[in-house]
Symmetry: C2
Subunit: 876 residues, 2 copies
């Protein structure tokens, strides 16, 4: 086996020696070279050579020195340059490259080959100052890395020479003087700085070999769990200079537009410059493409055409958009590096769809390549990257998208501003169901408390509304209608901007980018997803407009319509409060009768929007006290509005107060103790359904009972639903087909699912509550310890955001299996937040569920995740 | 097959025809007769005769009439009396008796055989008035039941005859007149009242047959799920009279003392009286046994001896203490009925132990016969049955036993009264951990809110303290220091009495019975239980005295020592509050250092009491805010006491407030976010353990981490415990063997028990929280809907009181199996309330757990239940 493999300039062997032999970087160079890319030529000393070196008392294997001389000779031929030549000197870089990358473990030696003679040639081609500065750097680096001269010793000598001057201000003469100083230091403490490039090279190879077993490198491998393999390869590559005279330059380009995905080269270049000039930002680079005077296309059309051809080859080879670094040295184009290019969410979609059309990848490839969660970003406004912004606080990134508007502290104010066409940001300590109306018309929501799954976060995500929560940097003072954030005082009516994707809160209006109009690529991608997926995707929606939006986004049904939101309509709220405060059943029924037509109207809107698709309606879930005023509200006013005494209101508030409302009197427990509430809801559902059925709308209601712990609860509530539904259908003479089912959201329901299924046409896992019960953690209180847990690595994600397949998953699996053991064709879905979590979707697919339901804006995410799940783990 | 079976006077066939043929009552009479008991002789018409009657148009089968005549003749011979005889008339009772008893479906006809002639004979033997009153009743009953004369018709005629008089004031002549009136009514509306006893009998048999298919009886069978079997038997039995001249009388006796279990007849009798005289209470009966003038033993020693002999025979036959009704008619002793006697909990224990010693039953029989829960009552004071009491309110029977004392509303007052040796009843809306000190010194506890598993109920049961909770009949006004109950106003200092076994609240001091001193029977029974049981019983105890009491009651370890109670010591409370309010770690550690010696001292007390037995110590479980003052406390005062500003206190209170504290920042979550708290506790435990080890006490600490949801939590806390423990042991040079384990009280811990077990030496199921999480129900809030659930039959018992084997049980089983799959010898116990619930104990035994732990006062219950579980379902 050869100790050295050459690459570039057509000298690369056809067969791949592999990473184990060539190291990662060497294999990459061999591969690019083999593809015919014009990489600067060079050669790689194998890891085996390094292995021999360590196994044999740091001696080179027989023949290595000979091979090295041959490799240099071959390189000289390929480049037309020669080591030490006074006209065309060969300069090379020397880099280590182990099989597994260990970034930062060994510095790169650049411009090896420079000496007192060759520096003159470089000066002629690229300028005096550049040449002497390059030589100065090389001597310093060679002294440090190869000859082992202590860096501080060289620094001290350099400082003495410089006096008050700075290196960047030295002219060529000054740099020459400094180089001499450094050479003297090297000579004093170690070997004389070698003028012979071949001697330089051998010494550099020795240094790279040795660096593999340095204390630092061994520690790195140990701490990263990298095995102590044979050793490192050494890559020797000819230097190319974009700052030489003639047609020279350097640039970076993407093979497609990384923001939009549009085809065609997209990048920048600087003529007569090295890479560091682009990075330094002193000169403004020009576009690669275009007809303006300084583009590469305009100034060097042939080179541009060559670059386009190479870009095309690279995409074909790597089957993806590439991010390319290139340099032109005196009319010759070199590719220094290519890698898969980073891109915006929108571009990612466009690119994979185009690649399918171009025949480069399959549809399955396209689906697998898109991170499902990224789709959520595709249609949201974002802060412009160039925008000037003053960030005054930072909270949690609860719901993506940016929003700007006037600060208000009360939901009622949102409406008032909205009526005047002024956007608002609703700022609250935390939100409650009473804020929903305000949130609906606000542009964005900011809360000082709460976590990723607080009320504000969940509702905002459901609405597709930008939201920042848990922003502990701000102090809200409701009474004075202002908040403090650092030095800033933001008063009601002042404008702020929030970025729900980063959690940033900014003063004033900050410039935003609207989402580019839909190219149709996402729709196409999702249609492919739907063809593949076995798991239906429904949406959680509580209103007609939400339902319509969900349908537009591809939902094939409503999996969760939360009826409590209907009670928070101002007219309903008053009636429900009267109902709760009523002393006798008649007054209670009177109040419910007021709510009935409001709910009927709202159900009708939803049914109409979902004509032909199923709508799962959850009967009232929260405890009744949620509808009464909170501690900070004016009880007197509420009491007056309801026509009751303040004392009576207080007594009822005390009676209804709960130690742990989440584990309290809610859901089916309200349905059982106050059946009139559920009866009214069911009547409203079926009156709406029957009316629309008569109009020819196809209504498919699925009535869902929440919080069932005992099969008997469902048995009784099923009877109530069926009795009421049949009565209404009887009154209308005709009505819809309907189902009655339950949420499985308590561990006990999952454990006893075999019994529960006897009374259910469907199960819908309420994974929010199921997760909270299984962990014994409340989403509203988790914020107190979750950050510590996350820091400690105990919980990388909140189990409310990323489904816990290990624990909660067992209950979903058990519930599904046991339910279907009782009823083989039981319809089973999920309607918690996890319906839109790709991790959850994968699990629900694998466990044979029929559907997931999520916020409308996550429907595309779920559709894609469902397709990927099927591709990775096909089910019949 | 014969239609009629005779019994009594030696005429009973040796083989048992069985209940299906003779009915329940007939089979019982045959059985007593076969035993040689002197039952009044008679005969039984079989259910088959009745069946024939219905199958054949209400006709009697051929031969039945003949057999009836024969049976009467045989009965006449056996008794020496004859139907219609003017000197010695045969009088009989006629009763129905189906295979399955249907009480109240058919009235009894007594004194059949009376007519205008025989009444004279009865008058001579038992008095004129008695005879005519008996005849009057017979006519009335016969008219009503047999001849179908409407009862109101007879009442109206009787009223007309009586005018202003009352029946009980009529003399014999008057009763004779009334009898004539009734006979006339009967004759007017139906058949003439038959004077021929044989005719009376045949008509009565017809009526009894028919009654079996009455609407009332059919409805009864349907609603009680009793199959419509062949029919009813009819029992005809000769009447005996304890009020005849000569040695006559009647009585009731137990074969042993039903209050104490002491051997020897225990009962009362009345000479010259019928059963109803005893019931009416007009004459005071005399004891059966004893040397005072009127005892049966003294007045009729031979009869007494015979009764003693019979009692002995009955116990031998039925292998249990009997409750016997007897009548003596002119020197002849008859047993009318015998049944297993009801007894006090204490007597039950004494009796089974004595029966074992007498060789009547086995030890296993004895263990199985005692309802384990009843043992809890054995050592509690009770309200005297004769006490005069005014019940002013009724709540839930939370912890058995009665208590009397002065009403106080603040825990601090309990202590003040206690210091003056005055007992108190602590009355609160509900209790919180801050009330523990007060509860400790109170005689009893009464709360207006909360259920069977509220804080007050659980703590009181743990302390063995009488307690009534959820007493919604009372309105507590803290500010005026009084409560209302109906018309009563009870002020601070007024005395009340509560009965924790009934839930009654009584005004003033009510007379109580102290528990009789322990006979040693319970100790003996429990020692047999311990020999049998495979499940160890430990106790939950938080203090040295509690631990000592638990050990006395037979606990073989402490399964749960709740350390939070230690923090509520006044000195500790101040320090922990300072700790919570501290801004910097140093101040926090300073506060903890103050707590350390207090806790060390308390641990030492417990370890000393449990020398040689294991003590499981749970590190801090409740959220920190439980240690801060509540909303109703004076924050200013607390702030002053702690040396902080009121505002700072308020801010901290707001920061720590939780929506659902049960699902909040508590247990291991505090241990992870504030490790100094757990570290201090572990240090206190091991300093105490090491000190006592040096003294030669055998300390076996088991450190338990609460509320684990993730294996990683336990892994980290185990490291903390071991590090601290080893450091302390290192300081002392010697120390105890110890274990580190966890509570399994969240569904997720049970589901992932295989992983959790990697870091645990033991598991202890915290079935209180596990049940609450699995059901999604909080014990403090369940009261709002549980009564409705109970009424609806959805939950016969709270799952917090009676273990839910169906749902929560799955998690216990799963957790145990998976834990042991990881560690075969993992020690597994239970430390929730269910450790003392016999239903739970049976389940835990069956699932191979090692131990249960319960309140000290329930230790005997659990020991017995564990033995019964092993007898019923032996495990190796």
């Amino acid at each position: 086996m050869p100790w050295i493999h050459s690459f570039g300039a057509g000298r690369t062997p056809a067969e791949d020696a592999g990473k184990a032999i060539l190291g990662g970087k060497g294999a990459g160079l061999a591969s690019m070279s083999r593809m015919g890319l014009p990489v600067p030529p060079g050669f790689t000393l194998t890891t085996e050579a390094c292995g021999y070196f360590f196994d044999n008392g740091q001696r080179w294997p027989d023949g290595l020195e000979h091979d090295l001389v041959e490799a240099v000779r071959s390189l000289e031929e390929a480049t037309g340059k020669r080591f030490g030549d006074s006209q065309h000197p060969l300069l090379v870089s020397v880099r280590s490259g182990a099989a597994i990358s260990m970034p930062g473990m060994m510095d790169t030696v650049l411009n090896l080959g420079l000496n007192d003679t060759t520096v003159q040639a470089l000066a002629r081609a690229a300028g005096e100052r550049f040449a002497w500065d390059s030589y100065r750097r090389f001597v310093q680096m060679f002294g440090d890395i190869v000859l082992g001269v202590h860096f501080t010793r060289m620094s001290r000598a350099a400082d003495a020479f410089l006096g008050d001057r700075k290196i960047e201000n030295l002219d060529a003469e000054g740099l020459k003087g400094l180089t001499d100083v450094l050479k003297r230091v090297v000579a004093e403490v170690g070997r004389e700085f070698p003028q012979d490039p071949m001697e330089q090279l051998k010494a550099a190879v020795d240094a790279v070999f040795s660096s593999y077993n340095s204390h630092r490198a061994r520690y790195y491998r140990k701490s990263h769990g990298i095995p102590d393999a044979a050793g490192t390869a050494v890559n020797v590559q000819s230097m190319v200079f974009g700052n030489m005279e003639g047609a020279s330059g350097t640039g970076v380009c993407f093979t497609r537009n990384p923001k939009t995905g549009a085809t065609g080269l997209f990048g920048e270049w600087l003529p007569n410059a090295q890479g560091e000039d682009v990075v330094a930002g002193i000169r403004t680079p020009f576009p690669v493409h275009g007809t303006t005077p300084d583009t590469l296309e305009h100034t060097h059309p042939a080179l541009y055409a060559k670059l386009c051809g190479l870009a095309n080859d690279l995409e074909t080879h790597y089957r993806d958009m590439q991010d390319i670094e290139f340099t032109i040295e005196q009319g010759e184009l070199f590719i220094l590096q290519t890698r898969t290019g980073k891109r915006s969410a929108q571009a990612a979609v466009q690119i994979v769809v185009d690649l399918v059309h171009e025949g480069v990848i399959t549809r399955d490839d396209a689906l697998k390549r898109i991170e499902p969660s990224s789709l959520e970003m595709v249609m949201r406004p974002v802060i412009s990257p160039d925008a000037k912004k003053k960030v005054i606080a930072k909270g949690l990134d609860a719901a993506p998208g940016a929003a700007t508007g006037a600060v208000v502290f009360e939901s009622a104010d949102c409406q008032e501003y909205f009526d005047r066409d002024e956007p608002t940001i609703l700022v609250r300590l935390e939100t409650s169901p009473e804020d929903i109306q305000g949130m609906t018309v606000a542009a964005g929501v900011l809360t000082a408390r709460g976590g990723q799954t607080s009320h504000a976060a969940v509702v905002a995500r459901g609405m597709g509304k930008p939201c920042v929560v848990g922003c502990t940097d701000i102090q809200v003072d409701y009474s004075r209608e202002l908040f403090y954030a650092g030095d800033s005082v933001i008063r009601k009516g002042d404008w702020i901007t929030i970025d729900g994707a980063t959690g940033e809160v900014m003063e004033g209006k900050v410039e935003m980018l609207s989402p580019e109009s839909d190219s149709g690529a996402m729709a196409e991608l999702l249609s492919w997803a739907d063809d593949v997926a076995r798991l239906d995707v429904r949406a959680n929606a509580d209103t007609g407009p939400d339902a319509a939006r969900a349908r537009e986004l591809g939902a094939v049904g409503i999996g969760l319509c939360r009826t409590e939101h209907m009670f928070f309509q101002p007219e309903s709220l008053k009636a429900i409060r009267r109902m709760i405060l009523a002393d006798d059943p008649k007054a209670r029924q009177r109040a419910l009768n007021e709510i009935l037509p409001i709910q009927r109207g709202m159900f009708a809107e939803i049914f109409r929007a979902m004509d032909g698709l199923p709508v799962t309606i959850r009967l009232l879930d929260p405890p009744l006290h949620e509808f009464l005023p909170g501690h900070d509200e004016d009880l007197g006013e509420t009491a007056r509005a309801l026509g009751v005494r303040v004392e009576a209101l207080k007594v009822r508030l005390t009676q209804l107060a709960e130690s742990n409302p989440m584990l309290g009197h809610r859901g089916v427990r309200v349905g059982l103790t106050s059946p009139e509430v559920y009866r009214t809801q069911v009547r409203a559902i079926f009156e709406a359904a029957c009316e629309l059925t008569q109009e020819g709308v196809v209504v498919l209601p699925e009535v869902m009972i929440p919080l069932v712990a005992l099969a008997g609860e469902l048995e009784r509530m099923r009877a109530l639903v069926v009795e009421t539904a049949e009565a209404v259908i009887g009154e209308y003479g005709t009505g819809p087909e309907y189902l009655v089912g339950t949420m499985i959201e308590l561990p006990r329901a999952a454990l006893t699912a075999g019994d529960v299924a006897k009374h259910a046409d469907f199960f819908s896992f309420g994974t929010n509550d199921l997760t909270q019960m299984t962990y014994g953690m409340s989403r509203d209180d988790m914020g107190k310890f979750f950050p510590d847990y996350q820091r400690a690595g105990l919980m990388p994600h909140s189990p409310l955001a990323v489904f816990d397949t290990e624990g909660v998953g067992q209950l979903v699996q058990m519930g599904t299996e046991r339910g279907r053991a009782t009823k083989a064709h039981l319809k089973v879905g999920v309607c918690g937040e996890h319906g839109g979590d790709p991790n959850g979707v994968r699990f629900f697919h694998a466990n044979g569920l029929n559907y997931v339901s999520c916020s409308p804006y996550r429907v595309p995410v779920a559709r894609l995740a469902a397709a990927v799940a099927q591709i990775e783990n096909p089910r019949g």
